[in-house]
């Protein structure tokens, strides 16, 4: 971490119906947005890389003995091992800029927490979601997530274009990226299902998977047309810069 750069912290506070409280603090490197983990002497067996390893995982057991996502989630899974997904809790989340709070089903809040852990874990598949961590939006709906995902992706394509790399304005590679993300989600639910735990953590990942599925479904079924009407100000023949209309794509 560069000197003077303070780490980025997200704090989750769960107040359960029995009055008990559980805190999680995620400290992130402000430049890489990777999770800064405390040294841990050992990890449980279910975190081993080859334990229900994702079919599309590019990592090797010899060099990476533990799944980075699983390692990040040991504390979360252990905390919620006896919890049903639809149980309600009061949840408060503090980002560097603001505080979010809601009384919600635990699966929704755990989904936000797990999503943050997954994207900051160093998993090569999920690394592509990491830019969204900086604007982490707890309790997000499927539409909000889809909007943020596509916005992030197109910003990434703009940066590629600016560097002379081929941009993907058609979102074709985003569909492939999210198919890969869904493979990870599915394998991770299988990994968790093998443990003697209740369904809260599994259903939290299922929610994340629904967001991924909704994004891909929207792209592939042209459901984005429903959002297009919001962009009327950008769809006039002459843009704000006065440029003439361009062909759709090169």
């Amino acid at each position: 971490m560069a000197p003077g750069n303070e780490r980025l912290t997200f704090q989750y506070r769960f107040k359960f119906s029995d009055g008990s409280i559980k805190h999680f603090a995620l400290h992130l490197d402000p430049v890489t947005l990777g999770l800064i983990r405390d040294p841990t002497p050992s990890y449980p067996e279910w975190t081993r890389l080859n334990y229900h390893q994702c079919p599309n995982c590019p990592l090797k057991q010899e060099t990476t003995p533990h799944c980075p996502v699983a390692v990040n989630l040991v504390g979360v899974v252990d905390t919620f091992k006896d919890v049903l997904s639809h149980e309600q809790a009061e949840v408060e989340i503090r980002s560097p800029e603001r505080t979010y709070s809601a009384r919600t089903a635990l699966q929704t809040a755990i989904g936000s927490l797990i999503g943050l852990h997954m994207a900051t874990s160093g998993c090569p598949v999920l690394d592509k979601l990491r830019p969204m961590v900086r604007t982490h939006l707890p309790f997000a709906t499927a539409e909000e997530t889809m909007y943020r995902v596509i916005s992030m992706y197109l910003l990434g394509q703009f940066f590629r274009y600016r560097r002379g790399l081929l941009p993907d304005w058609d979102l074709k590679n985003l569909v492939k990226t999210y198919e890969d993300v869904q493979s990870v989600n599915k394998a991770f639910v299988e990994r968790l299902s093998s443990l003697a735990i209740q369904d809260a953590s599994m259903n939290a990942v299922v929610i994340l998977d629904c967001f991924a599925a909704t994004t891909n479904f929207s792209i592939m079924s042209d459901s984005l047309n429903e959002i297009e009407q919001l962009f009327g100000a950008y769809l006039k023949k002459e843009g704000t810069t006065g440029e003439k209309e361009n062909p759709r794509r090169g």
């Binding site: 049903l84 997904s85 639809h86 089903a105 699966q107 709906t141 499927a142 869904q182 989600n185 599915k186 639910v189 299988e190 299902s193 093998s194 369904d199 599994m202 259903n203 990942v205 299922v206 929610i207 998977d209 629904c210 967001f211 599925a213 909704t214 479904f217 079924s221 459901s223």
Partner: protein, 123 residues
Amino acid sequence: MKKKILVADDDPALLQMMEAVLKREGYEVLTAHNGQEALNLVRQQAPDLMILDIMMPKMDGPSVYSSLQSDVTLSKIPVIFLTALATSNSTSDEEGLLGTAAIMAKPVNHATLLRKVSGLLGA
């Protein structure tokens, strides 16, 4: 006439996703956020197929199913149960049977879901 499918799950994201996928295939979709709501809808609307989450607030999926078994007509509605706990020994969408109902693992694969729905509706 469109086949009518009831989907019941306490996760709004999953409900929304399944509604979109099924509607696109031409089905009419009813949604419920818990078991009690599902049971009421089944009695009012008599859908052609039910997709029920196993673990839901107020009334779980198997209880909804059991409550309908005493009704001559409604007991014949085919059911798919959804659960995130069903994948322990599977590497893909493992499907099994609970009574005469099918079980489908979450996360739900769209193609598998549509194949199963089509099969149960005899479409």
